[in-house]
């Protein structure tokens, strides 16, 4: 049976039209965009077009505000480091506890080097406290970096509002929007967002290409130094095939924006309701009223995520988990922990992330597949008895060793 791919927040397949657009740039149009001859010139023209396509998707005022990078991680690191280097009198960063490691791990490193990092906490639904945020905005803060939408739960943060507050205090605002771009309408020229990261492979373009949006006039220091590519803000010979692919993917994302919010949302809701109606002791995670239309994160209590994924995979269904074991660490997902999800549920949280390529038939198959898998694993779980969770698990099952 054809496999069912519900892990689009991890990565997406390239759209065939995207592949078709990029292929000529490996062979007949291989030139270096900086060259004066005709080999390079055509590439330069194509890159210009791609830049305009991305400008349109982001609603940027100028096409020179689009800087091509290698992906989300590079864009995030560049943005944060730039703000610190360009404003040596400011040594503080505001971010959140639920950011992607591309921001969090880098902030941890900066903290070791002496910078001060404030991490905004979230409530049980993954929402921020605006009062806590506003109280932290001082003239020692160089940058606020807050994700537009969370990769694990899909929860959307009010970044446009937060950017206004930061701007009013003269603080640069960066958002990691790799999950939001293409799924939510974005019009940067109407916001006070100074920098934004996007990643190609999350919106049906290839891996290894991304963008840092940099608002004109924002003080900037490049991460890399070399040639004049990207107006010296990101030197290195352009990844022309990747750039052209990303341009095409941006154009397609514009066309399908409505589909994401109608068809994909419908399938997501059907999946979530279908599973929750059939499996007891399961609940959805995140801010259900304000989240990406493609993401559903469901916690299955008293079972562990990797087991669920392995059994799903056996049926050709791909999803992902916030469990400790799938990441190789001993802790469950930092997002689940930050939301205060009990360990018995956090380890069994499964993320289903859809795309415009999923079908109703696929969703119905997944709804049928999940309940027996959960039942099978609960049958061998020490926290579960014949009829349901063992009463007061802490009393009956108290494993030694912390």
């Amino acid at each position: 049976m054809k496999p069912i791919y519900l892990d689009n927040n991890a990565t997406t397949p390239c759209d065939p039209a995207v592949v078709a657009a990029m292929l000529p740039f490996f062979t007949e149009q291989f030139g270096n965009a900086s060259s004066i001859h005709s080999f390079g010139n055509q590439v330069g023209v194509a890159i210009k077009k791609a830049r305009a396509q991305i400008q349109a998707l982001l609603g940027a005022e100028h096409d020179s505000e689009i800087i091509f990078t290698s992906g989300g991680t590079e864009s995030d690191n560049t943005a944060i480091l730039s703000a610190l280097k360009a404003q040596p009198d400011r040594n503080q960063i505001i971010t959140t506890v639920v950011e992607h490691p591309a921001v969090l791990a880098f902030c941890d490193r900066l903290e070791k080097e002496g910078y001060v990092v404030h991490k905004l906490r979230v409530d049980g639904r993954g929402r921020l406290d605006m009062d806590e945020y506003r109280a932290l905005l001082t003239d020692r803060v160089a940058i606020v970096s807050v994700m537009w939408a969370n990769n694990e739960t899909g929860t959307i943060f009010p970044v446009e509002e937060m950017a206004e507050y930061a701007h009013a205090r003269g603080i640069q605002f960066h958002t990691d929007a790799v999950q939001a771009v293409g799924k939510l309408p974005i019009d940067l020229k109407r916001t006070k967002i100074d920098m934004l990261s996007l990643s190609g492979h999350k919106l049906h373009a290839p891996k290894g290409i991304g963008v840092l949006y940099l608002r004109r006039g924002t003080r900037f220091r490049a991460l890399l130094h070399g040639g004049q590519q990207e107006r010296s803000r990101r030197p290195g010979t352009e990844n022309a095939p990747g750039i052209i692919a990303l341009g095409k993917a941006a154009e397609l994302a514009m066309q399908h924006m409505e589909t994401e919010n109608t068809d994909v949302r419908f399938l997501r809701d059907k999946l979530e309701k279908g599973i929750l109606a059939r499996v007891r002791r399961a609940f959805p995670n995140g801010d259900l009223h304000c989240r990406l239309p493609n993401t559903s994160n469901i916690a299955f209590e008293f079972v562990e995520g990797e087991g669920i994924l392995l059994l799903l995979n056996k049926l050709g269904i791909a999803a992902s988990s916030g469990s400790a074991c799938t990441s190789g660490s001993l802790e469950p997902s930092h997002v689940m922990r930050a939301m205060g999800i009990p360990y018995t549920a956090a380890h069994g949280s499964i993320r289903f992330s859809l795309s415009r390529y999923n079908t109703l038939d696929e969703i119905e198959r997944v709804i049928e597949a999940v309940p027996p898998i959960i039942a099978q694993l609960r049958k061998i779980s020490p926290y579960w008895s014949e009829s349901g969770p063992v009463e007061d698990p802490n009393k009956l099952f108290q494993p030694a060793y912390a």
Binding site: F302, V303, E304, G305, E306, G307, L310, L311, N313, K314, S323, A324, C325, T326, G328, S329, L330, E331, P332, Y343, T344, H347, K379, I380, S381, P382, Y383, F397, Q398, P399, A400, Y401, A402
Partner: protein, 298 residues
């Protein structure tokens, strides 16, 4: 996804002896919900012979935790309690044709459940001395808790020492920065406590005090070499390996590495550590070489 062996997959998809065991008279509950693993091992022990007549398990955990539990029940059935106590976590991993380094703790949990169940049967209190931290060295499955303990107990100050004592960082070397971070945090704390003088971690060097020792006779020297080799054997045997001296030719000491040491990716590091020890004990520079090179030398 993990590179699980066919045997692990087999035992995950079709776990043996899963579910409660009504007539169990030995129960071991171990694990930790924080870590995402919890295991209840139930044994039916014959009170006359102490033979394990039946074993079943219930596990909350990942694929390899369930497979390790299943393997454990298969291994211990039919054994006496004393025989079962000899089952090591390596035995469980070997039964499954190996586990990924990140998942070795699943087999450790299995062994602990067994110890806990037997202690429960015998009316003893079981206390585990097991601690876990972030996995640092993926090649040898060494976590931060182990490195921290070894650094503290032995007063280590350099990366090389950590590798010699724990194997961590001995193969692909990509975890060296993380090991240095652990060293820095512990050494800095000891400096503050006045336990050692502050010195840059990277430049701390162990100077062999033995350099001043008077020259030994040939016989004394050979005995000393044997003595040093004997002293490291228990450490190698712990890892299912061993070592023997084959010949001594001038500065070159030829040895045979045996068991798990053979072909181990850490062979060079193991020899290096022993060579360092010989160097300190003998007060002279010596080279420790595999016996295979003896042929070439002749």
């Amino acid at each position: 996804m993990w590179d699980y062996t066919e045997k692990v997959k087999e035992h995950f998809f079709n776990p043996r002896n899963a579910g409660p065991l009504e007539q169990a008279n030995a129960v071991g509950d171990v694990g930790s919900i924080q870590c995402g693993d919890a295991l209840r091992l139930m044994l039916d022990v014959d009170p006359e012979t102490e033979i394990i007549r039946d074993a079943r398990f219930q596990t909350f955990g990942c694929g390899s935790a369930i497979a390790s539990s299943s393997a454990l029940t298969e291994i211990v059935k039919g054994k006496t309690l004393d025989e079962a106590l000899k089952v090591s976590n390596q035995d469980i991993a070997a039964f499954l044709d190996g586990l990924p380094p990140e998942k070795m703790h699943c087999s450790v949990m299995g062994r602990e459940a067994l110890q806990a169940a037997i202690a429960n049967y015998r009316g003893e209190a079981w206390k585990d001395d097991h601690e876990e931290g972030e996995l640092i060295c993926k090649c040898y499955a060494i976590d931060s808790a182990l490195i921290e303990r070894v650094v503290r107990e032995n007063g280590l100050t350099t990366l090389e020492q950590v590798t010699h004592f724990t194997k961590a960082g001995g193969a692909c070397a990509s975890c060296h920065e993380k090991i240095e971070d652990v060293l820095i945090s512990i050494v800095a704390a000891r400096c503050e406590a006045g336990a050692i003088e502050a010195a840059p971690v990277a430049t701390a060097v162990v100077t062999p005090a033995a350099v001043e020792k008077p020259r030994m006779t040939n016989l004394q020297r050979m005995r000393k070499i044997e003595e040093v080799i004997e002293s490291v054997r228990p450490m190698l045997q712990n890892d299912h390996g061993d070592i023997e001296v084959v010949d001594i030719v001038g500065k070159n000491i030829y040895v045979n590495l045996k068991g798990a040491c053979m072909g181990c990716a850490l062979e060079a590091a193991t020899l290096g550590a022993i060579q360092q020890k010989l160097f300190e004990e003998l007060g002279e520079y010596v080279r420790l070489l595999p016996a295979s090179q003896l042929e070439m030398a002749r």
